[in-house]
C-alpha cells in the first residue's frame, strides 16, 4: 500500500460528462476508513455519479479512483471490494432473504458452512432472523432496507455505498432508520458513503458532509461546520433556514467583520479568509439563532424591529420582522411563545458566518 495514512478511498481528479451535461468537474477527495461520509446536493449535482463511479457502474472520463491505494478506475463492479445499497434495494424477487444475503458470498467461493455462518451472523445483527425464508415481497419497507444492508455488508466490503436508501420509507420510519443506520455504521466500523438530497438525513448521520452543486464540491466539513459556518450562499440556503444579510464591510480583523446593513452596524465572523474593507459581502444567520428581547440585549448584535407577519408552525411560529428604518430589511426568526409586535432582536456574532461568495 502506498498510503501510510488512514485513507481508504482516494478520488483523484475525476470528471464525467453525459453528452453535453457535465456531471463532475475534476473532483478530488479523500475518505478515511471508518468514516460516515454523506454527499449532499440537489438532483443533478453529481453526487449519484460519484457513487456510481465508485461502484464501478460508470467509468470517469478522466481521473483515477484508488481503493486502499489500488487503482480500480477501470475495474468492473464485480471485481471491486465495494458494495452498494440501492435506492430501490434491488432485492432479487425470486430469492428468499437468506439467499439474497448469501448471493455475494457464494461468488466469493465460500463453503456452504462459511456462508451459513456468515448469513446467520448478519441476520441476527440486523434482527432479521425471523425473516430468513421470506421473499422480498413479504417484507415491509424497513425490513427490505435492512435486508439490502445485510446483503451489501455480507461480502465484507472495504466501502459501502448507499444510494438514497431511505427515500422509499415514510417520514416516521425514516427518522428511526437514520439512528439505526448510524449505529450500524459505528458498530461495524465500515466506511459508509451515503448519498442523499435530504439535509436532515445528512446532518443526523454523517461524520462528514460533502455538499455538491453542479458537479463541484461546495463545502466539505462536519455537520456543525456546514450548519453554523457555511462558506457559500448555496450551502447556507441548501441546509436549514437562513437569513442572508448583505452589506459593505466597514472593518475586518481577526475573523471579526463589521458590516453596514441598511445603516445598522452588525458583526459577523469570517472563517479561513478576511474580506477587504469596502467589499460587499453576505453573511448567513440561522433563524433559530435570533433571540427576542423586550429591551436592547447585551448580545453582540442587537436591532429593533416590528413583527409584520406570523406563520404558525406547530411547536413554534415563524415570523418576519421589519428592522431598522428601511422597508426592505426583513429578518426571519422563530418564536416559541407570545411576543409583542415591537421587539428587540439579538444574536451572537459567532453565529453569523460571512460567506465567501
Amino acid at each position: 500500500m502506498s498510503n501510510t495514512d488512514n485513507t481508504i478511498v482516494h478520488i483523484d481528479g475525476i470528471s464525467k460528462s453525459f453528452g453535453k451535461t457535465v456531471a463532475l468537474q475534476k473532483l478530488d477527495m479523500k475518505i478515511n476508513a471508518g468514516e460516515f461520509v454523506t454527499f449532499l446536493g440537489p438532483s443533478g449535482c453529481g453526487k449519484s455519479t460519484t457513487l456510481r463511479i465508485l461502484g464501478g457502474f460508470e467509468r470517469p472520463d478522466g481521473g483515477r479512483v484508488l481503493l486502499s491505494g489500488k487503482d480500480v478506475t477501470h475495474l468492473p463492479p464485480n471485481k471491486r471490494k465495494v458494495n452498494m445499497v440501492f435506492q430501490d434495494y434491488a432485492l432479487f424477487p425470486h430469492m428468499t432473504v437468506m439467499r439474497n444475503v448469501s448471493f455475494g458470498l457464494e461468488l466469493k467461493r465460500m463453503t456452504k458452512d462459511q456462508i451459513a455462518a456468515r448469513v446467520d451472523e448478519l441476520l441476527s445483527f440486523l434482527e432479521l432472523d425471523a425473516f430468513r425464508d421470506r421473499f422480498p415481497d413479504q417484507l415491509s419497507g424497513g425490513q427490505r432496507q435492512r435486508v439490502a444492508l445485510a446483503r451489501a455488508l455480507a461480502p465484507d466490503p472495504e466501502l459501502l455505498l448507499l444510494d438514497e436508501p431511505l427515500g422509499a420509507l415514510d417520514a416516521r420510519l425514516r427518522a428511526q432508520v437514520q439512528v439505526e443506520l448510524k449505529d450500524i455504521q459505528r458498530r461495524t466500523g465500515k466506511t459508509f458513503f451515503f448519498v442523499t438530497h435530504d439535509q436532515d438525513e445528512a446532518l443526523t448521520m454523517s461524520d462528514r458532509i460533502v455538499v455538491m452543486n453542479q458537479g463541484r464540491v461546495e463545502q466539505d466539513g462536519t455537520p456543525e461546520d456546514l450548519y453554523l459556518r457555511p462558506k457559500s450562499r448555496f450551502v447556507a440556503e441548501f441546509i436549514g433556514d437562513t437569513n442572508l444579510i448583505s452589506g459593505e464591510v466597514k472593518h475586518a480583523k481577526d475573523g471579526k467583520v463589521d458590516i453596514d446593513w441598511f445603516g445598522m452596524n452588525v458583526q459577523g465572523r469570517s472563517f479561513d479568509y478576511t474580506p477587504r474593507t469596502g467589499e460587499l459581502v453576505t453573511a448567513a444567520l440561522r433563524l433559530e439563532k435570533v433571540g427576542f428581547y423586550d429591551k436592547k440585549p447585551e448580545t453582540g448584535n442587537a436591532v429593533q424591529g416590528k413583527i409584520v407577519n406570523r406563520v404558525f408552525k406547530g411547536s413554534r411560529t415563524a415570523v418576519d420582522v421589519r428592522v431598522g428604518d428601511v422597508n426592505t430589511a426583513i429578518l426571519k426568526a422563530y418564536v416559541d411563545g407570545d411576543v409583542p409586535d415591537d421587539v428587540w432582536l439579538g444574536w451572537d456574532s459567532a453565529n453569523m458566518a460571512v460567506l465567501q461568495d
Binding site: 425470486h94 428468499t96 461468488l107 456452504k112 458452512d113 425464508d133
Partner: protein, 332 residues
Amino acid sequence: MSTTPKPDAADGIAPGGATRGSDRPTFWGRLTHAGPYRAVTDFVFASTRRQFILLAALPIVWVLFAHLGPILQMIRVSFLDSYPPAVGYTPQFTLDNWASFFKESIFIKPFFRTLMFSLSLTFATLVLIYPVAYFLARHVKRDNQMLLLLMLLIPFWVGEIVRTYAIMILLGNTGAVNLILKTLGLIDRPIPFMFTGFSLSFGIVYLTSLYMLMPLYSALEKIPPTYTEAAADLGAGAWTRFRRVTLPLSLEGISSGCTLVFLISTGLYATPILLGGPSTTLFSQTIAGFFHVAGDKWPTGAAFSTIMLLTALILSGTFMKLIGSLTRGPQK
C-alpha cells in the same frame, strides 16, 4: 414469482439452515472460480467492444441468414429462367417470370380477387369486432374481463385446419345451418353455402377475427374512462364522445388490427382450398400451383410471391402511415 419457495438444487443451501456440514462452495462459487471459466470470461469481458461483438454476432447472423435470407433468395430466383437448376445448366437472368403476371388474366384475376377479398373482409372484421372489443374493455368489470377474453382465446389457439373444418360442418349441405332451415320449413332443398365466396368469407372472418380483437381491446382498455366522462361533462353526446374521444384514441389498435388481419388473410392457403370453389381461386392457390406441378415453374412462383409480398407490405405500410399521421394530427 414469489410462490416458488424451492431453493435451487444446485446450491444446496436449504432454507432455515437445515442442511449444514458442507465444506464445499456452492455451484456458482465453483463455476466462477474454475480455471476454464475464468479464462473464457477474462477473454470475453476484457473489452466492452469484444463483449458487444460476441453478444451481437448470433442475432445478426440469425436475422440476416434465417429471416432475410429466404426472402432475398426468393427474389433472386424470380429473375432466373429455371430453378431448381438442372444438372449442367446455369440459370440465366430473365424478366419473363414477372412479365407473365401482366400477360395472363388467369393470374391477374386471382391477384385482384385476393386483394379485394382481404381488404373488404378486413373492413368487415373491424366493424364486427369493434363493438365486441369496446364492450369488453369498457362495459365489463376488470375482474371479469380476463375471463371473458380467455373464453374468446380458446378457439384462437386451435389451428387453421381444425377451424376451417368446423366451418365445413356448419355450412355443408347436410350441415347444421341447412338442417335448422329445413326443420323450420324455410327451405326444401339445402342451400349450397359451401365452395362459394360466402363460405370462404365466413371462414376467413372466423379465422382472423381474434387478431382484430386483441389489438383493439388493448387500445381501448388503455383509454381512461375519465376521458369520456370529461367529454360528457363538457356536454358531448354519446356519438360525439365516441367520434372525438374514443375513436381517435383507439386508432393505434385499429391500425395494427387491420394490418394483422389483412396480412393473414392474404397468406391463407388451406382455407380457400377447403372452403372456396373454382370461382373463388385466390392468389395463394395460384402461387402454390407453380410448386406442385412438375417442371421448373418455381421462378414464376417466386416472382408472383414477390409481387404479392410487395403489394401486401406496401398497402399495409401505407395504411399504418396514414393512421399514424391521423393520430399525430389535431387530437394531440
